[in-house]
Symmetry: C2
Subunit: 271 residues, 2 copies
């Protein structure tokens, strides 16, 4: 099944705008897990089994696996296989933020969509269309282009002004003109005005967002700014607040509580 | 030894501006290698042993290993260990083009500089200073920021005009103002004018360049535009032309011939 259909189905089934970021940090794991041989996979499995009815998507950020070398990547593979086998209805975004040219971009696309088997991936559009095309050629997948990030310094370059418009927006307009169906966009939730203008450019695209705080107010703004006309097609990533809600043996149940709380909070502001 | 010193020493010792891109494509390997269990590592080893006196640096692009999954990455590890053990005097650039924010950037930096043990890495500056800082914190390493790529569509976004200057240049000026010593820059060789203006901004930085053609003319322009006042501190990547100079059993010797030819060609135009 194509990724667009998977998202359509899961929005219907789980009624959630939550994206759970599977970003393992072993130092934060409960002690009971540390003696296991595949601690990262065991941790992910417990989180997934406790939250699969509450989330729209899972999003492993590959950096957290690469930091543990080949062993970490092996456990990402186990996680991907587990998701594909046990929860094939849930789309998986591999957050890899790749970007390279020509033949090299093809290799990254092959790795992410064929080897890792992700449904979606995050990619830098900065290098131009020919660097993104090898990803878009996987028609059944969703390639999410990074437009505006949520970090404090994101304005430094992304908001440099081009004819009275910030750079990221000038880039977004050109990307919208490509008229590609299997393209999603990333916009940080810390800038709700950016979410609003990007949603206008991409009325139906799947949006990925992140950086949402604990403040009720900013969640309200971000959800209202990001949803499409049917009140869906955006997902907000939460990682640490869910994964490490407890460092005790009850971590999975506490993660479930936190995921449920966030799902309900996002839903409160949907149209 | 720090990466800056490694580069200074190797420019002295090997007198070369060549960067050899270790970008394995198994389909292009000589048939004799295909039956071996670690074909990629065997191939790399043969190339390295044949060229280590001719090159300033080796640059594996991690995409070509990720495309082969965990097995490919295992062979990248074998390659990195081999280089560190047998040729510790040659700096190794891991071309990974990473870019992410905060905690995630830390994980990528940890992976590249600690797990893979690279001397240098390529990184996207687009997300802003806080996304680059975790790499720069490895003071002994060289973090090479991608300013302008060599692909046909690179102008699409990178050359959008900000106050009569292309975006990549406006970004480069802000980066130069960071005044960081352990920072290198990437500029494609297909745009010699860009090399010239970036060299002026970063008079002493190590530059990495790529996309040089077979045309003598463009090599001349690129070398003259890119070298520093001492005629060094830029390396030009060549990958396929060296690695696949022959698809027969003589591939390593042919690679050596090609590497020697390129070294001599670059040197012809140094001041």
């Amino acid at each position: 099944m194509g990724t667009a259909q998977k998202f359509a189905n899961i929005f219907e089934k789980n009624n959630s705008l939550l994206c759970i970021g599977l970003d393992p940090e072993i130092a934060k794991f409960p002690k009971s897990l540390l003696s296991k041989s595949n601690a990262i996979f065991s941790f992910n499995k417990a989180i997934i089994d406790a939250t699969y009815t509450l989330t729209a998507t899972y999003k492993p950020n590959i950096a957290f696996y690469e930091a543990y070398g080949l062993d970490g990547l092996k456990q990402l593979k186990l996680t991907m296989l587990y998701l594909q086998d046990k929860y094939p209805e849930i789309p998986v975004i591999l957050d890899a933020k790749r970007g390279d040219i020509g033949n090299t971009a093809k290799m990254y696309a092959k790795s992410i969509y064929e080897y890792w088997g992700a449904d979606a991936a995050t990619v830098f559009p900065y290098l131009g269309y020919d660097a993104v095309e090898p990803f878009l050629e996987y028609k059944d997948k969703l390639t999410i282009l990074l437009l505006k990030t949520s970090n404090p310094n994101s304005k430094q370059f992304q908001d440099l002004m081009i004819n009275k418009e910030p750079f990221y927006y000038a880039m977004a307009k050109k990307i919208a003109a490509w008229k590609k169906q299997n393209l999603g966009v990333f916009v940080g939730a810390t800038y709700p005005k950016d979410l609003t203008r990007i949603r206008k450019l991409f009325p139906r695209a799947i949006m990925l967002s992140a950086g949402i705080g604990a403040q009720d107010a900013s969640v309200k703004e971000a959800v209202r700014a990001g949803v499409d006309s049917r009140g869906r097609n955006i997902v907000f990533n939460a990682s640490r607040s869910i994964l490490y809600a407890s460092s005790g043996a009850d971590f999975a149940r506490k993660a479930q509580d936190e995921a449920e709380k966030l799902r309900d909070l996002f839903n409160k502001y949907r149209k």
